[in-house]
Each structure stands twice: as C-alpha cells, then as structure tokens.
C-alpha cells in the first residue's frame, strides 16, 4: 500500500529488490531473539518472584536450543562448504558456528550463576535473562557478520545489553558506576569503530567484507592513507571490546563493580564476540594488508600480556585481579590472531573455548564467595577458605591453576596451541614473551591459592579481624551445576583434547559470496 502511495506521489518506481532470506541459516540467531521476546512477554504476565527459577531454565533451554540449531548447519558447512546469506551480509562458516556455540555456552553458565545470585540479592526478575539473550544474539550476529554495518549492528546489540547488565545491581553504587563507565567508554569506542567503517568504505567503496576482499584482489591502492586510518580506527573499536591494552582501562573497574555472574559472561561471551569480529575483519577481509596491521597487533599483544600480568600482581581485590588476568588472556588470544594463519585462528578459537570454562568457573566461585551484597572480594576475605569451604577452594584452585596454564587442564593446551601458532609464524620472541607473562600472572593465581590455603601475607592479616566470618555458605543447585560444567570442561579438555582440537581446526573462517 505504501508502494502505491509512493507511486502516486513520485511517479512510477521500480520495486526494491530485497534479498532472499534463507531462514534456516539464521536459526541460532532466531532462536535466541525469539527466546528473549517470549521470555519478556510471558514473564510480564507471571508473578514477580517465582519459587522455581524458571527464568533461568527458559534462558538455558533457549541457549541450548541455539546450540542444537548449530548442529545441522555445522554438518551442512562441513559437507558443502561455507556460504553467505542475506545478500552476503551474513556468512555461515565453521568459524561463526563455533563461536555461536561458545557464546551460547557462556550464556548457559551465566544464567546458572545468575539464578542464585539474583535470589541472594533480592533482585529477581526476567530482565537480566532477557538482556543476556539479547546480548548473546548480538554476539552471534558479530560472529557471522560479513558486512561492517551488520558487524556494527551486532556490536551495539551486544554492548547496550551488557551496559545495562553491568548496572543490574540496583542497590550497589559500584554497579551503577561500572555501568556508566562502561557505557561512556563503550560509546566512544563505537564511535571510533563507526568512523573506521566510514573510512574503509571511502577507501574501498564497500562495507561488505566479501567485496572488500574482492576489491583488494583486483586493485592496488595508490594512496593507502585513508584505508590505513580506517584499519587503525577499527582496531581501536575491537581493542576496546576485547580489552586490549591500551584500550583496557575500563576493565578492572567494570569487572569489579558489575554483578559477578555478569562478569562471567563479559569475560567469556563478550570477549568471544569481540575476537570473532576482529578475526573476521582483520584476518579475512584485511588479510592482504596484514603486513601493515600485524606489527601493530604484535605490540598490542605484548603490551596486553605484560600490562595484564604485571598490574594483576599488585591488586588486592580478587575481582580486579581476575580482571587484569583476563586482559592477560586477551593478549594470548591476540598472539593467535597476530599469526594470521589458519593455525592461528584455530588456536584463538581453542583458547576462547577453553577459557570459557575456567573463567566461567572462577567467576562462579567469586559469585558464591561474594556473599550477600557481592562485596567480599578482598584478598583478605579469601583467607582460610581452604579450611572453611574445602570443595569450593579446591575447585577455585583448579580453575586458577588452569588459567596459569598447568598441564592436564584446558588452560595449558590453549597456551600450547597459541605458542605453536606463533612459532609457526616465526614469531619466536612473541611466543617467549607470552610464556614469560604467563609466569608473572601465575604469581597472582598462586597468591590467591596461598591466601585460601596458607593464610595471607602478614600485613593483610591485620584487616581480617574486623568482620566476623559470615554464616554457612549456601551453594544453590544451579550454581553447583555451573561449577560442575566448568570443572568438567576445564579438566576434560586437558585430558581429552582431541575433539575440541579437531573442531577448532575445522572451524575455519571463510569469506564467500552467495552459496545456497
């Protein structure tokens, strides 16, 4: 009807040629979005404080459904090769599907932790879960985006939901502060990213990654300044999302202030989405210009690892420590990205998957130990935990040692593959620097473990006496499940690394035009 109106006003117009939508290729995304909408509608019709945590259960089922939807697509891609849909705006390849699963798995772990957390803090309600699902759908869009505009769309959907999640805890001042800080700096980085898109468009004449790659294959730019400026701005945008130094300054404050289960999601899901975009844009589309961006990423990786490791050591708040250690991990993944090879990409994917379990588990423990108010995160609060909560301490020790890269855990293999990728790309010194920072950051993990098992340092002991140790710690069943999943994931990947190694190897990113 609108068409008819337009035709009457401006004369005859050709109908707009809309691209054909291949719905089945988008099922994971649609499941997540649909789940979020259904959840918000149904939850608004139901009482506020349900006895059973069915919000969490629905969220988990939706995330699992999305993972289930990935399976036939994975088979399809494996058999018939990757393809693009929606006028080449969304790519379906092993890479995007792998990261879809990683993001959905991080939603599962975060939802399991959120249930107990929200009850403990009397914050029950479906909002957190809806935002979690929306944010995950943004991440899934980023993982498959073949167009810079779509990438930006995904980035914003992902980010804005997480800004709100960071401020979820209404009664904690720090939570609001974290949300505001995250939002302001995030908005800046989005602006950088958008400007980068504009410049790249100016240089290449397209925002579509397939066409940009095609453009580089056919043309040589006589003046590269515009493009290089665009690349730099895009790198800033991604660097912010993955918390690479020097774009990391928000991380410790936001991680410290945000609700712990949300931090678990930020550190795993958001980071995975950020790296998805980074790899898609830089390794795939801007691959021909790797000689220009590789040295930058090389130094970015070194800076990120060193700053993450060194500053983690001087912290006294466990959440801040873990924030800096996540910066160190981001540096490791950047090492894999820097290699810009198939092995490099699959090592980054392996790292993200293994990292999901150990960091999810770590923040799970932190969630439980934070107690009501989510405030007991000083290192001094962890003293003597080994005696009071032997099982939780043991689990925390396993997750921390895994993060330090102890063999027989996923963390070791993740580091091993990244080092292998770097060595294959002849970046020996980078590999060595990475391992040395791993040693520095091991100090921090050992410090937490020592605090749990052997008491703290002498100067910290003085401050323990002020508050009497709170009563018995209740571990909700869903949190138990989350910790069990994290433990199985961490140790299982370490003991039987074959399947994940193969999957990460097969999950190659691809830029292809069209398809089915």
């Amino acid at each position: 009807m609108i068409g008819a109106v337009v035709a009457q006003v401006g004369g005859p117009v050709a109908p707009i040629d809309t691209p054909r939508v291949v719905w089945h290729a988008l099922t994971p995304l649609l499941v997540l979005l649909g789940g979020a909408v259904v959840l918000v509608v149904v939850a608004s019709l139901r009482p506020r404080r349900p006895r059973i945590g069915w919000h969490a259960i629905v969220t988990i089922l939706v995330a699992l459904g999305a993972i289930g939807a990935v399976v036939p697509l994975w088979r399809d891609v494996h058999r018939n090769g990757p393809f693009s849909v929606m006028a080449d705006a969304v790519g379906v390849d092993g890479f995007s599907l792998f990261l879809t699963v990683v993001i959905c798995a991080s939603v599962v772990i975060a939802a399991l932790l959120l249930d107990g957390y929200l009850r403990r803090e009397s914050l029950e309600g479906p909002e957190a879960y809806v935002l979690l699902l929306l944010s995950a759908s943004g991440g899934v869009i980023m993982a498959g985006a073949n167009d810079l505009i779509v990438m930006f769309l995904g980035l914003e959907v992902l980010s804005i939901s997480v800004y709100v999640l960071a401020g979820l805890h209404l009664r904690r001042l720090r939570s609001g502060e974290a949300a505001l800080k995250y939002f302001l700096l995030g908005a800046f980085s989005s602006a950088f990213f958008l400007y980068g898109i504009a410049l790249v468009y100016g240089a290449t004449g397209s925002t579509n990654l397939v066409r940009i790659a095609d453009f580089f294959a056919r043309n040589t730019l006589s003046d590269e300044r515009l493009l290089l400026a665009g690349i730099a701005l895009l790198l800033v945008g991604f660097g912010f999302k993955v918390a690479a130094v020097p774009f990391h300054t928000w991380t410790p404050d936001v991680y410290q202030g945000s609700p712990s289960p949300v931090v678990a999601y930020m550190a795993t899901g958001v980071k995975a989405a950020g790296f998805a975009g980074l790899i898609r844009v830089f390794v795939l589309a801007l691959g021909p210009y790797r000689l220009d961006w590789q040295p930058v990423v090389y130094w970015l990786a070194i800076l990120t690892m060193v700053v993450g490791a060194v500053l983690a050591v001087v912290q006294t708040d466990v959440k801040r420590m873990l924030a800096y250690s996540s910066i160190n991990h981001a540096g490791f993944i950047l090492v894999g990205v820097q290699a810009a090879t198939r092995r490099g990409v699959s090592s980054a994917l392996f790292y993200l998957a293994a990292y999901l379990f150990m960091v999810g588990g770590s923040f799970g423990i932190v969630t439980l130990l934070g107690r009501r108010g989510d405030g007991r995160h000083r290192l001094a609060d962890y003293e003597g935990m080994g005696r009071r909560h032997p099982v939780l301490s043991m689990l925390f020790a396993v997750f921390l040692l895994a993060q330090a890269g102890t063999p027989l855990t996923g963390g070791f293999l993740a580091k091993f593959y990244v080092v292998q990728a770097a060595v294959e790309a002849r970046s020996f010194w980078l590999a060595l620097a990475a391992m040395v920072t791993a040693v520095i950051s091991a100090f921090l993990y050992l410090r937490i473990i020592l605090a749990m098992y052997a008491g703290g340092d002498a100067d910290e002991e003085a401050s323990t006496s002020e508050a009497a140790p709170p009563g018995r710690l209740r571990v909700p069943p869903m949190a138990r499940l989350a910790l069990a999943i994290a433990l199985i994931g961490t140790v299982g990947i370490g003991l039987v690394p074959g399947p994940l190694t193969r999957t990460a190897r097969d999950a190659t990113p691809a830029l292809v035009s069209g398809g089915r």
Binding site: P407, V436, V439, P497
Partner: protein, 560 residues
C-alpha cells in the same frame, strides 16, 4: 578401606588394558626390545597407580587420617614393587628403550602417550619407587594427613612420568605438573617462611619451563618444516638428526637448558633451592632433593645430549664450568650455614655440580658416574634430610649452634648419621665414592683442569660435613639436648633400606653399572656420530680401551 583400594586397583587395570591394546603396534617404533614387550604395561602402571592412589586417598573420610595414611603407603609400596618389577624385567646389555607403551593422545599433532625405559632412566625410576614410601613413612605431617599423602602420590606419578616419557609433549606435561603438588606440600606443611619458599620455587621452575615450552614447540615445528610429518616423538626427532640447522639447534638446546638448569639447579639459577629445601616438610625435602633435582639432570641427558648432540657439545665447556662453579660455591656456602637443613640443601648444589660435570664431559665414565651419582645423591641426601627431620622432631630447632653432644645421648642415631654423611662425602666403600670417582675420571679425560678443580670439592665436602658433625654430635651434652631420644625402631626401619643401598652400591656397583653402560655408550655414540666431540679411546671400556694408553712407539713394537 581395602574395598576402596580394590576399586582403585581395578580402575588402574582398566586404564592399563586400554593402553596395552595399542602398545603392541607401537613397540616396534624405535626399540630393539620390541618382541620383549610384555602384556602388562608396567610403565603406564607406574604412572597411573600413584595417580589412582592419590584419588583413592582423597576419597577417604577426613576423620580417619590413619586410614588415609595406610592407603597412601600401600599405593606407594605397590608402586615401589612395580618399579622393582621393571628392574627385573629390564634386559641387561641392550641400549634401546624397553617395555615401551604407546597410545595416541592428540592425533592431529602426533602426540602420544609414549613411555619407555633404558639404562639411564631405569635406576631413577627405581629410586623414585623406593624413596616415596620411605619419605611417607619417615616424614609424618602434623595436620591434614589426607591431602598431604594425596599430594605426595600425585607427585610420584608426575616424577615417574618425567623419567618415562619419550614424547616431548608428555615430558613437558609431567615436568610441569610436578610443580603443583610440591607447591602445595611446601605451602601447606612447611616451616615459617613456607609461603615465600613455595611461590619462589613455583615461579623459578615455571620460568624455566616457559623457555622450554617455546623451544619444544619450535623443535617440533622446525622438524616438520624440514619435510617430516609433524610429531612430538622424541625418538623420531632425535634419530633424524640434521633436520634442524646447527645454529637453530643451539638456540633450542639453550631453551631446554634453562629449564633444566633451574631444576638441577646449576649455579646462577640455584637460589630457589635453599629456601625450598629448608622450608619444605621432611617428606617434601626428601623428595625434592632425592627425586626432583634429578628431573633436571635427567633432562640434560635425554633432551640435551640425546636430542641436540652437537649443541650439547658446543655448550659443554660452559656447562662444565658452571658445574665446577656449583661444586665449589655449593661447598663453600654449605660450610657457612648455621641451619643444618640449609647446610644439606647447599651440599645438594655441590653434588649436582658433580653430576653436571660428569654429564657434559661426554665420556662413558663421566656419564655413568653422573647417572650413578644421581641415584647416590637421592639416597644419601634423602637419608640426611630424614635424619635432620628426626632431629627437628626432637629438638624443634635446626640451628647447629643449639645442638651439641648428641652422640652421647643417642649413639645409634649418631652412627647412622655418620654412615650417611660418609656416603655423602664420598668415602670409599660407600656409594658416593663410586659415583664421584667415575665422574671425575670421565671429566679428567676430556676436561682435565675442570676435574682437578672439581676434585677439591670433595675435600671441601668432607670439611663442611665433618665440621657440622663435630658441632652437633661431639662436645659436652648440655641440658637442652640431654633428653635427645635414641633412634626408634620405626625410624630405624625407615632408614634401613637406604643404609643397605648405600653399602651395597659402594661395595658392588657392578650390577647397576652393567645396566647403565649400554645406554650410556649409545648416548656417547649419538653425540659422536652427530658432529660432536670424540671421546679419547681410553674412555671406552672393553678390549679396545687399552689402545688409547699406548704410546705410538709401543703400539708399533707390539705390532712388529
């Protein structure tokens, strides 16, 4: 309790069955004794059994520390028996790897669970098997028995794994995993400055390992780049020498050497050792000195000389020099200690210097002496730490100045201490002498002046140990030491096997040397065939040995 143990045993058996299926096909990989591969995978069991023991110990109720102790000791003794079993099954006179177990672990990278034993690792495995139950019985914790024993068993599994692994990846995993139990043992059950010592120990060793990991990956990748399929198989890479350029191989050797030098420890990297050894609980010190230091020297043999023969020769002068510095420095530092435990810790630095000297002399005698000395040091220093632990239990001090005249209060204790001390000094008739003599002999053939300087270390060793003995055991018994208890039967039984080994190896080392020698000769040949130095003919054993001593004219006269 016995039911639990039974479950553990069946679990181990099941795990073994899984690996034994593939072990048969892999046995022909590089070994001469493929047909001798038995049905029961002894070596896998040596690693799995203590690990299962750790789990079973962890399952025992916390209220029954005695039960945890019994289960743990049972598993340690079984492992020890199994290591003796490996000794019996070992075929004397063959240089290659025996009793090989192999199963694929990560197929994409050709990483496999590849275990084997040869003359070099054989006695280190037996040492590990024997020393762990003794350490468990000799060093009893005063709290949290269950985790203590579980960590010890985990440590044993890791140590066994290091000595048995023939895959670069598996070796690294085991080399690194031993840090965790030892860290917890020091941090949880150590003395006053245990936190500092535990972190220092962990970080020092991990820093070394960081270099090794990069070197290890680079070795595999560069080997692949030379046109071979990617593999982490040590034997394959070591036998195809020449795939990696000489200069590169030297860098790679260096990256491995840093890790081993920290672990040994070689002179400038030794500072973690006195702290860790002094602060660790008795059982921890025994294992740390007895077994874990050997991980480094063993690494030098297996991943230095065997994997990078040319580079090892190139670095030999530097390594030998550092070894000699270690001998002298360790001895002098030990002489100046006021803490008895710290004194013994520094004596380890000196003893390990001898092993490094013998290893990098790259002669048959030097290497044989080095391997034998690894075992000797494990036995005698282990026993010394046990004895110091007993002194601490009685007097609650380790300060030499506070101990006096113990000989009068506890003559048998003093006698045992004397024997062990003499073995540590290297008095003829006891094990230490054989090892040090062979080491110095081997070093003299290729590095004369280094051997001369090193030999003075023996004298200084006598100095500091005898002086310490005088101060602690001689003199007038004062009130504080008056009720120093005599050696108890249980303590005597714990020490008896060590004393037996000390005397046996000192009097009749032939059976041990017979088993070490073929592998050592093969190792020397590996170095000589790959552009390394050639040992003087006199260093070879057998009929050709005397030829090296002929003067040219004499030989002609004999021929004409």
């Amino acid at each position: 309790m016995s039911a639990l143990a039974l479950v553990g045993a069946t679990a181990a058996a099941a795990a073994n069955a899984a690996t034994s299926a593939t072990s048969a096909s892999a046995a022909n990989a590089a070994t001469s004794a493929a047909d001798a591969s038995p049905q029961f995978p002894v070596l896998t069991a040596l690693v799995v059994l203590p690990a299962v023991g750790a789990l079973v110990t962890g399952l025992v109720s916390r209220r029954r520390p005695e039960a945890a102790r019994q289960v743990a000791v049972l598993f340690a003794v079984l492992t020890g028996a199994l290591s003796i079993g490996a000794l019996v099954l070992f075929k004397t006179g063959t240089p290659g790897f025996q009793l090989v177990d192999k199963a694929t672990w990560i197929k994409d990278l050709d990483i496999s669970w590849f275990l084997g034993i040869d003359g070099i690792s054989l006695f280190l495995v037996v040492l590990t098997g024997v020393l762990f139950p003794i350490a468990m019985l000799g060093g009893i914790p005063h709290h949290d028995e269950k985790p203590f024993y579980a960590w010890l068993l985990m440590l044993e599994a890791g140590c066994m794994g290091v000595f048995l692994a023939l895959d670069l990846f598996v070796f690294f995993v085991m080399f690194e995993i031993v840090l965790v139990p030892m860290y917890f043992l020091i941090a949880g059950w150590g003395y006053e400055r245990r936190r500092y010592a535990a972190i220092k120990f962990f970080l020092y060793t991990m820093l070394g390992s960081a270099f090794m990991l990069v070197g290890l990956v680079a070795t595999a990748v560069l080997y692949q780049r030379a046109g071979h399929p990617l593999t982490f198989n040590l034997v394959t890479i070591a036998t195809n020498q020449g795939s990696i350029a000489t200069t590169t191989a030297r860098w790679l050797f260096l990256s491995f050497a840093v890790a081993f030098a920290v672990k040994v420890p070689v002179f400038p990297l030794h500072t973690w050792l006195p702290d860790a050894h002094t602060q660790a609980p008795t059982a921890g010190s025994v294992i740390l000195a007895g077994v874990m230091l050997k991980l480094g020297t063993y690494g030098f043999l297996r991943f230095g000389l065997y994997l990078f023969p040319e580079a090892a020769t190139w670095f030999a002068p530097a390594m030998v020099t550092l070894g000699v510095i270690g001998i002298i420095y360790g001895a002098v530092a030990a002489a100046m200690q006021r803490d008895l435990k710290r004194l013994i810790a520094y004596s380890s630095v000196a003893h390990l210097g001898f092993i490094v000297l013998g290893t990098f002399a790259i002669t048959t005698q030097g290497l044989e002496g080095g391997v034998l000395q690894m075992v000797n040091h494990g036995i005698s220093t282990g026993a010394l730490f046990l004895l110091v632990g007993m002194i601490y239990e009685r007097r609650h001090t380790r300060a030499i100045a506070e101990l006096r005249g113990l000989q009068r209060a506890a003559p048998i204790f003093a006698a045992v201490f004397t024997v062990v001390m003499m073995s540590s000094i290297g008095v003829p008739g006891l094990n230490g002498f054989v090892g040090e003599f062979l080491t110095l002999l081997g070093a003299f053939l290729t590095r004369r002046w280094w051997a001369v300087v090193g030999a003075t270390g023996v004298i200084v060793a006598a100095l500091y140990l005898l002086w310490a003995y005088q101060r602690v055991f001689h003199g007038k018994l004062d009130d504080a030491n008056a009720d120093f208890g005599e050696l108890r039967l249980r303590e005597g039984l714990v020490l008896a096997p060590l004393l037996g080994i000390i005397v046996f190896l000192g009097v009749y080392p032939k059976p041990v040397l017979d088993r070490i020698e073929p592998s050592v000769k093969a190792l020397v040949a590996q170095v000589e065939n790959n552009g390394g130095q050639r040992q003087p003919p006199v260093a070879t054993t057998g009929t050709s040995a005397r030829e090296g001593t002929f003067v040219r004219g004499e030989r002609k006269g004999a021929g004409g």
